[in-house]
């Protein structure tokens, strides 16, 4: 099936590929990778390819508030294929303070015109938390308070995506005692938005969400915290490459010890993998190859995607295990142990039978003698 789809799309794919400066094979690989990240069935890459080829690039308005731009930076470093080209071509990034050439009033004008031109159709991406304390005076862009800008932009957006932990749930700026009242986009808008938490979030999770919108015209399924289920549906611990060590009880006890060097589980060093929902353990991070994510490098997960864990709990504090149902391999309280052999049971039955038979025969013969005796007496 998928083969046919790819054949059908070959012409168009070539066009897009040339436009993106990559070859057709790389383009199809990107589509397939995205489909996999989204957890879509085989064949979906064709649909993704089609959607991307159409070049009906949605307008994207990208706002920055209380943040470090790490989310944008990590997005720019996604490399298969050269994603910065792709995102700039797949989407029409009409407003992004750190990437756009325009500045000052010109930039603000670009935002206004994009909002007007794509009213009800554009995607609003928010990076960073929004301060609400003291009427939100702690963050202003172009003289406008963050809280006002986000409300203004969200009003006519087709979809709102909060990228990074700051926008998703307050992140680092909201850490106790939270002097600016840093809040999430969802809290400020008073409605649930799609969130891509992480510090920074994995670029592919954002990209896959955007491509999903492009392909299917809607955002992917999300959990109760607005996180796309394809990326945040499971605990890091569940698919961790070090999980086997956890199950076998092999732990790094301190940094640099034998267990640490051997790649044992980092739970005892405070790894928050067991209480953090994210797909880091399955897709890695930063395109530098296998094992390139914090736990893979030997540092415990700090739970950056998880509200109440990242920036809230001390890094080396023991994690609370979520959903720690005992694996099937764990011994039960009662295990059936010991052998019983059928041959032995049969042999024992045979012996018992023979003995009983012999005894019965003998008793019968003795009985005859008993009967004979009184008769003898009588005679």
């Amino acid at each position: 099936m998928s083969e046919t789809y790819i054949e059908e799309t070959t012409e168009a794919a070539l066009t897009v590929a040339s436009r993106l400066g990559i070859n057709r094979r790389e383009f199809m690989q990107f589509c397939a990778a995205t489909a996999t990240t989204l957890g879509l069935p085989t064949g979906a890459e064709a649909a993704i390819a089609k959607a991307v080829e159409k070049a009906r690039r949605p307008s994207v308005i990208w706002l920055h508030f209380q943040e470090c731009t790490g989310c944008s930076e990590s997005l720019l470093r996604a490399e298969h294929p050269t994603l910065e080209k792709l995102i700039l071509d797949v989407i029409s990034l009409d407003y992004h303070e750190t990437l756009m050439a325009a500045a000052g009033h010109q930039a603000e004008a670009a935002r206004k015109s994009a909002m007007k031109a794509n009213k009800g159709k554009y995607i609003l991406v928010v990076e960073g938390a929004i301060p609400v304390k003291d009427n939100g005076i702690y963050c202003k862009v172009g003289g406008h308070k963050a809280i006002d800008i986000v409300k203004e932009c969200a009003a006519d957006a087709a979809a709102v995506i909060a990228i990074g932990s700051c926008a998703s749930w307050g992140g680092m700026p909201s850490t106790e005692p939270n002097p600016t009242g840093a809040s999430s986009v969802g809290d400020v808008l008073g409605k649930p938005v799609v969130t891509i938490p992480g510090c920074p979030p994995n670029p592919y999770n954002f990209l896959a969400t955007a491509v999903h919108f492009l392909t299917f015209g809607k955002l992917p399924d999300v959990d109760q915290l607005g996180r796309p289920k394809f990326a945040y549906g499971r605990i890091i611990h569940e698919h961790c490459e070090r999980r086997a060590h956890f199950d076998a009880g092999r732990f790094a006890m301190e940094f640099g010890d034998e267990g640490h060097r051997k790649g044992y589980c980092l739970y005892k060093l405070g790894c928050k993998g067991p209480e953090t929902y994210a797909n880091c353990s399955t897709i890695g991070f930063g395109d530098a190859g296998e094992n390139n994510w914090p736990v893979g490098c030997g540092h415990p997960c700090i739970g950056c995607t998880e509200k109440g864990v990242g920036f809230a709990k001390p890094i080396h504090q023991t994690a609370v295990l979520k959903g720690m149902m005992p694996p099937a391999s764990y011994p039960r309280i009662v295990e059936e142990q010991g052998k019983a052999s059928f041959a032995a049971a049969a042999a024992l039955a045979a012996i018992a039978g023979a003995a009983a038979g012999g005894a019965a025969m003998l008793a019968k013969n003795l009985g005859k003698q008993d009967e004979a005796q009184p008769r003898q007496k009588g005679e």
Partner: protein, 349 residues
């Protein structure tokens, strides 16, 4: 003659039995007492996350081989303690497994290893003193050089702890000895040392009992500090933390324990400290949210089996008084009844 002898025999036998019975109260023994310096473990099922670090550490510390229960023999997967495994974490499962430490639709983890009874059956049962209870630490240890391999200890233990290597031509008993071989290096039980959550604590039983009582007094959900590793009494901690000698202690292998406590919330404990009274007391104490019988720990009476067995044995054989008395009576009777050359064939009518 016959009748007279019969009565004589009966009387002698009765007298001998009476001697035995009379010595009974004097010989009766109650449960033994816990040595004041006894050490042990406190296992808290609610804190246990089932990581099995203690199982792996135990194997390493005691040089035990891996044991496989799965088709793929990737790593150690013992089903129970055995000749190759001294310590195991077992999982209680019920229904949907929704809640940890819940009896209904929940799950829980439990440690299985030697309980180090105050009055151990294995020590009482062993005919050759291969099982010994240390008079100071109370650790129940095993000497394979003394052992004859009769496995009476295996059969006698109510917890099924001493295990035997049936697959060896030169077999032996395997049981937890609280890593007594590591004590000279200043180390303690490996299971407690590696436990990431402090679910298994090592320490003096008196200190562990206090800690257990502290946990039982907590309200569920209450925030509290939970110690890990080796739990010491308050005055011992001061000594340990003193600047002088600390370096020396470190060179000896002691780790600074002060940073081992961590914040957590109290769970919903059953008001039952297992091992406090059971079987005359054990040096491994346990706390749980699920009834212990569901976790494979039998509901045992406060009297140890060793007490009854030894009372009975000493009543009958104490000082060999009764056997010698009976032997005397039997000799007296036999002497009258046995004729040289056994010619008594037709003596009686």
């Amino acid at each position: 003659m016959d009748r007279r002898n019969f009565f004589k025999a009966s009387l002698a036998g009765g007298a001998a039995l009476a001697t035995g019975a009379a010595s009974c109260p004097a010989q009766a023994r109650s449960n033994k007492d816990m040595p004041p310096e006894a050490v042990g473990l406190l296992f808290d099922s609610i804190l246990c996350v089932g990581c099995k670090a203690c199982v792996a550490a135990c194997k390493e510390a005691n040089g035990m081989p891996p044991e496989f229960s799965t088709q793929e023999q990737y790593w150690d997967t013992p089903l129970d303690i055995s000749g190759k495994t001294l310590n195991v974490i077992k999982a209680y499962r019920h229904g949907s497994l929704a809640t940890k430490d819940s009896e209904e639709n929940g799950y829980a983890f439990v440690k299985k290893s030697c309980m180090h009874c105050v009055d151990p059956s294995c020590v009482s049962a062993c005919p050759v003193s291969a099982m010994q209870k240390d008079p100071k630490t109370g650790i129940v240890s095993y000497d394979k050089e003394a052992c004859i391999g009769c496995r009476y200890c295996v059969a006698a233990c109510p917890f099924g702890v001493p295990r035997f290597t049936y697959d060896k031509a030169i077999p032996q008993i395997s049981k937890c000895q609280l890593c007594v071989h590591r004590h000279k290096d200043g180390k303690y039980a490996a299971c407690a040392e590696v436990c990431p959550t402090g679910a298994t604590l090592y320490g003096k039983v008196s200190v562990l009992r206090e800690e257990a009582k502290r946990r039982l007094a907590m309200k569920p959900g209450e925030k509290a500090e939970f110690p890990r590793g080796h739990l010491r009494a308050a005055q011992e901690k001061q000594l340990q933390g003193a600047p002088e000698g600390k370096g020396e202690m470190r060179r000896k292998g002691w780790k600074d324990e002060s940073g081992q406590a961590y914040p957590n919330v109290a769970g919903k404990y059953l008001d039952h400290l297992y091992g406090e009274k059971e079987f005359g007391g054990t040096q491994m104490l346990m706390l749980s949210g699920v009834p212990f019988e569901k976790l494979g720990y039998p509901d045992l009476p406060p009297q140890s089996d060793a007490a009854l067995s030894e009372t009975l044995q000493h009543s009958l054989y104490g000082g060999l008084i009764a056997p010698i008395a009976v032997l005397g009576a039997l000799t007296f009777i036999a002497r009258r009844n046995v004729r040289p050359e056994d010619e008594e064939g037709g003596q009686n009518g």
